[in-house]
């Protein structure tokens, strides 16, 4: 009798813990700002994190479970690479009350885009109706460098609008890049830096 009781207790506690762990990984993982869920196969380069394996046959079970829940369709590794940033280069989490500049190096790619999204991956409300920039449309300085200003209020130059009071993440995508052949070789030095300029 006592034995059966013990087994039931073990089964119930185990079930609760197991489901809790799955919920934590999959549901909270939908908020890419929290840094849970996508835990395997990540490549970090400065403020940027990529999950190149999600675009291949070798995507891990956590990524598959996550994408099955939110309906995400990642880009294939041979199409390009996606990188997400949820904090600046000093690892301070993004705050829409602050201004940021994204500038510096960028890996060689036929095209690249930088966009601002909610941590759940949805477009943010924007008066400018602009949710991102492509490499074809940004202003360049004499050395071919670029500087994108991320702010909730209008800025001269290339202004990427984020919504006041709403959390956001930045996505950098490199299309048709040689880096696809060796995505884990990417380092902070070849990626753009994200500097926090000031907060209101």
């Amino acid at each position: 009798m006592l034995h059966a009781f013990k087994l039931i207790v073990v089964a119930l506690i185990g079930l609760g813990l197991g489901l809790g762990a799955t919920y934590h990984a999959v549901e909270r993982g939908q908020d890419r700002g929290l840094g849970v869920g996508l835990i395997f196969g990540a490549v970090k380069a400065g403020p940027w994190t990529g999950w190149p394996k999600t675009g291949t046959r070798e995507s891990d079970p956590y990524a598959r479970a996550l994408f099955a829940r939110n309906g995400e369709t990642p880009i294939g590794l041979t199409e390009g690479l996606s990188f997400l940033a949820r904090a600046d280069s000093h690892a301070r989490p993004f705050d829409s009350a602050c201004d940021y500049t994204v500038k510096g190096a960028i890996p060689a790619a036929r095209f690249w885009t930088l966009s601002a999204l909610s941590p759940q991956g949805r477009t943010l409300p924007a008066i400018s109706e602009r949710h991102g920039f492509t490499s074809s449309e940004i202003l360049r300085d004499f050395d071919g460098g670029f500087e994108i200003k991320v702010s909730a209020s209008a800025r001269p130059g290339d202004w990427l609008e984020v919504a006041q009071g709403q959390p956001f993440v930045l996505m950098l995508r490199l299309y048709d890049t040689a880096l696809s052949a060796n995505p884990y070789s990417v380092t902070a030095g070849v990626m753009p830096a994200i500097a926090r300029e000031g907060c209101r």
């Binding site: 489901l19 999959v26 291949t56 829940r69 309906g71 880009i75 590794l77 036929r110 991956g121």
Partner: protein
Amino acid sequence: MKRKQGLVGDTIFHLLPILAGCLVVAGLVHIATIFLLPRLATKDAFARLSAIAPAHQVVLLPDGAGGPFDDPALAQGMCRFDLAQGPLRLRATLTPDALMLFSFHGRHGQIFYSMTDRSATRGKLDMLLLTREQLNVVEANDAEDELPQDLRIIAPTLEGFVLFRSLAENPGEMAQAQARIAALSCGLDRDQRP
């Protein structure tokens, strides 16, 4: 004849297998649910796209119909397939220098093949998506002295979808990017008898 600390030791000794049991059950439940989720999910990409797109034709995805973390600079289209009805033929005449992405997704979302317009020869793409059995039939009918002109891709699941994404280099070019997708051809292959 138990000593005092023996009683504490006994309790731990009795609890230990229970704790270990809980962890083992938790681990099994966690692993099982993670692996089962893609099969049970009702809101995955395939379910979402099936609801808006009939099979075997190119369908442009309206704004907001894509999934989370889509690049807002990309126009999107899809072609859903069901290989039980026969192999899928995909043909494209590409615009030079316009980025076009192709990704092939199985029923449970996994990407099994992807490429860009760079893989085209002389601006054209000709792809045949089929099962291993269908490939055997096709190869048996191939002329022996010439190489096949199409790219043949084996799908891991009978059902799935091909996603087409085309870059609008600036927001004003979204209509052109959509037109490039609409110009693709995708359908059941007429040369193959199921």
